[in-house]
Symmetry: C3
Subunit: 214 residues, 3 copies
Amino acid sequence: MQTLSGMDFLIAVDHLAVAVFAVSGALVASRKQMDIFGFVLLGTVTGVGGGTIRDLLLGDGAVNWVQQPSYVAVCITAAAVTYFAAHLFQSRYRLILWLDALGLSLFCILGAEKALAVGAHPLVAVIMGIVTGTFGGIIRDVLGGEVSLILRKEIYVTAALAGALVFVGLSLAGAGGLLAFGSGFLCCFAVRALAIRFGWSLPAYRAREGRDVS
Amino acid sequence: MQTLSGMDFLIAVDHLAVAVFAVSGALVASRKQMDIFGFVLLGTVTGVGGGTIRDLLLGDGAVNWVQQPSYVAVCITAAAVTYFAAHLFQSRYRLILWLDALGLSLFCILGAEKALAVGAHPLVAVIMGIVTGTFGGIIRDVLGGEVSLILRKEIYVTAALAGALVFVGLSLAGAGGLLAFGSGFLCCFAVRALAIRFGWSLPAYRAREGRDVS
Amino acid sequence: MQTLSGMDFLIAVDHLAVAVFAVSGALVASRKQMDIFGFVLLGTVTGVGGGTIRDLLLGDGAVNWVQQPSYVAVCITAAAVTYFAAHLFQSRYRLILWLDALGLSLFCILGAEKALAVGAHPLVAVIMGIVTGTFGGIIRDVLGGEVSLILRKEIYVTAALAGALVFVGLSLAGAGGLLAFGSGFLCCFAVRALAIRFGWSLPAYRAREGRDVS
């Protein structure tokens, strides 16, 4: 269904997303004052974690980085560069937030795309988009002893949901790969960007104090 | 080996157990004041977590909810209902404890049954019963930042062990599926029920103060 | 490629490493004053955790202990013995450190060896060595509520890296199995031993206070 250049494009984007998440993992390592191998370990787990869980769940052959070690090489490189350059990144915390938003937007589409490619149900494809986008960060936070991503009062999972929904919907409606990819990506990135820019969050559940569901 | 109605029964019971655990995950989300997507995420992970790990470990085809998305649909529905109805549940904490006991009792038998069905060793089948029954809750507690289930001073894992042992033992002894299922279920539920009702716990390890193993 | 006695040797060593890690998991259970089933659960997860994740990632047939339940039987036995004998072990904390170093050294070689045996890329083989050696302990710490291994300021992951690198390098260079195994093992054990003996750690990343990378 896809042309060779389409595959090449997806693989290049996948490496970019992996690198971005590896940097976010390495930055948690810098907050925890780990050594360089801690940077590499946490960066690599964050970079390939979401895709690994997706591939295990789909059960379609081996995990991507086991087949194609370039993913891991990208993580190691990105984490090591971060170790020596983290002082630059740290003064640019918002840059990291935006890189993370970029990685999330790429991964939620890539995860849903892979699930559709192996014939999964559309609901499963949306879930795989969310899993791919968020589980690297969830593992990063659990291992790094940070408050888990999913406990934070931010629109994050929701952005991945929106992007994956749009991508899967357009794909099933017969839209071309690039249109579906671009629309899903922009939708996720826009939701996340607005959340970052304006500090958006969804109404949280509040017990006993009345409800605040708009 | 099983009649169609036997399979239907198992699948119906499996959906019931998944829904019960999804509610327990959503209730942790309510304690953490998450938004509705947090409820759905934590509820879904809790509902399908134990079965997912069982299926990955057994390596027998894909994970159940990837094949049959109705499991996930049940989780999403149960978690969303809990979001809007949690104030009812919360005033009924003991109801939740009993629902959780019900889910544990169902899952420990269903996990052991699936392992036996793919030809696993009886010891492995017992472990798969425990894994299926308890790992959803373990993941829920790790992600939700709660004190892990296995650290609590309650008879919980032990109940799953008892139920799975009885089920596997009777199955190997040639008892009919319904007898083995019913006996294992009742055994697990009874142990857990007595633990809830009377606050039972096993003697904990105590260093330096002498031992209290009866 | 391997003689029967070579396989037997690997399997025996694998069981030894599993038992050593199971004891380390059970000792965390003793620090948390769990009951005997908590000892067995945490001991078993720690003992087989690293190898389980390796086998899932490699995707080469089922997980080792599902195929061969003797691994789990060893964990259960080791954890149960620890429950009744932990007061002996606790007064010998350094003995535990050394046993753990032994398990780490064995597992990092065994993990890399299995990856090479199924035709994985050398980089992947090194990673599988690290994963096998360290993830049992990482799971132990997450479930047991301890500060994660990878957050501690010790040379630990680095030792596994060194051992796996030496083993994979020598194996690819055509060295005999025993030479590669012995060299990798000694390298990992020596690095870890020096770290324990002299309290070695790598320079940690320090923000704002200048860098301390020698």
